[in-house]
Symmetry: C2
Subunit: 150 residues, 2 copies
């Protein structure tokens, strides 16, 4: 997995929207998530075009999630910001079996990231802030919190 700054910014923005209960300005997202102002615009635009968030222009405008946090997986966001990663095909016949391994790696990644939703991340954050603040090295991220609201 590559995890570009753009992706992590996008996830931060999505999380910010997930905990808000009304439209949020790009300006506020940029500040709270520490995203360069114009870059934030840029990313939000991409997320909206992908259908993950909605928006309203003008004063009193802002952004909000298109679906509840429990129905948006990390993979949904990452797929948008990372784009279609072109599979590197092996160069020689001897290396051909590697292609299958790359596939397994990718589907393994996809499985994990498809199971974790924005709601899960928020829940895990809340839990860590409750008990141990110093380390943040826990190991529990539940996979189904908040699903099923459609």
């Amino acid at each position: 997995m590559r995890i570009s700054a753009r992706t992590q910014y996008a996830l931060g923005a999505m999380l910010a929207l997930a905990v808000a209960d009304s439209p949020v300005h790009a300006e506020k997202i940029a500040v709270t998530q520490d995203i360069p102002r114009r870059f934030c615009d840029n990313i939000l635009l991409q997320l909206r075009r992908a259908g993950l968030i909605r928006s309203q222009r003008g004063p009193d405008g802002g952004y909000w999630l298109a679906r509840p946090p429990g129905e948006i997986a990390l993979a949904d966001v990452i797929r948008v910001t990372e784009g279609a990663e072109q599979a590197l095909r092996p160069f020689s016949p001897a290396a051909a079996p590697l292609a299958e391994i790359w596939d397994r790696l990718r589907s393994q990644e996809d499985a994990l990231l498809s199971e974790i939703t924005l709601a899960d991340v928020i829940a895990s954050r809340d839990r860590h802030q409750d008990r141990d603040r110093s380390s943040g090295n826990g190991q529990d991220v539940p996979s189904d919190a908040g699903r099923g609201m459609s």
Copy 2:
């Protein structure tokens, strides 16, 4: 996982050495694995410095594996060529829980790649070639070519 061309070249080279029973020239590796000649040198040097292969200079020189193929995991090679991937740390407190997820992704990858050895890859290749060629490859247990130098 990123999988650079360099990494795939390196794995190809290692596989080439794994099926050989005597030292192999960089030239031959470059040709059979379709690696740009000088780049191949470059990669082999890196693999040698990491202790994965050994070498001998001069005419009659070449490269060979430092350990038998069954004792070299793909992860061993990839760690060398990909270097220490610095974990992208989250930018905002809200995104902090992502760090744990990136860790899980990485250890999941590592688990898979640590289990698969060069010997495994070769075996899987042979299995896939079963219908084309009759067997008799006779290189099931390639081991150290017995050159204690460099």
